[in-house]
Symmetry: C2
Subunit: 134 residues, 2 copies
Amino acid sequence: MESVSIDFEKAGGLVPAIIQDHRSGEVLMLGFMNSVSLEETQRSGEVVFFSRSRNKLWKKGESSGHVLKVREVRLDCDADAILVRVEAVGPGVCHEGYRSCFFRTLGSDGKVKITEERAFTPEAVYGPQQEKKA
Amino acid sequence: MESVSIDFEKAGGLVPAIIQDHRSGEVLMLGFMNSVSLEETQRSGEVVFFSRSRNKLWKKGESSGHVLKVREVRLDCDADAILVRVEAVGPGVCHEGYRSCFFRTLGSDGKVKITEERAFTPEAVYGPQQEKKA
């Protein structure tokens, strides 16, 4: 056991947090956390990001109900990136209606192609005003 | 098919790039890319990051030989994060001798514990001067 200081200062107070399905291993999304959002994530057992666009804490699923239940938090060697293994509540995490936010493949020609199936209808979950990612 | 501009400007010219083993689904590391390193990654078929600490392009495996062969590049919904699914050459990607850089688990008490087995001896691969992560 050791105590480690997470290097929040390297990128202006924020570290990237990868969200991975703890069963399938699928990478669901990437958000950012500051120290308060990480504390709140650990305390509540559900993922809380820091939204860069809204400049405030952002509880994932606050409007959709698609919360991310924390199963394990991992830290990388340089203590400047976090991997959160989760149980994702609901059909998908992406505000565009997909299970994962990484639903597009980038070809070597620079073209992007949707390579996943839609899992739900965003408007039915979020209404006309969609929950934005950070 | 659509053309998408990756939002490199959101975080000062860089986007986080998650590296995932394309077979096991294990998340191996997280680095950053600028537009040139992404182009170079696509062109060469092997992952090239932008090192924030050294402020230059950093071909993963340049000193260790542990290159990351690109199998698929995914883009998230906001086009500000990249997921690279790779075949990782060698016993592990971490300069500390682990298969994944995420070899430590963060407890809810803030304590960190090593929860993976070492895969190789760093000194034997990198010599006394270890390859640094970005």
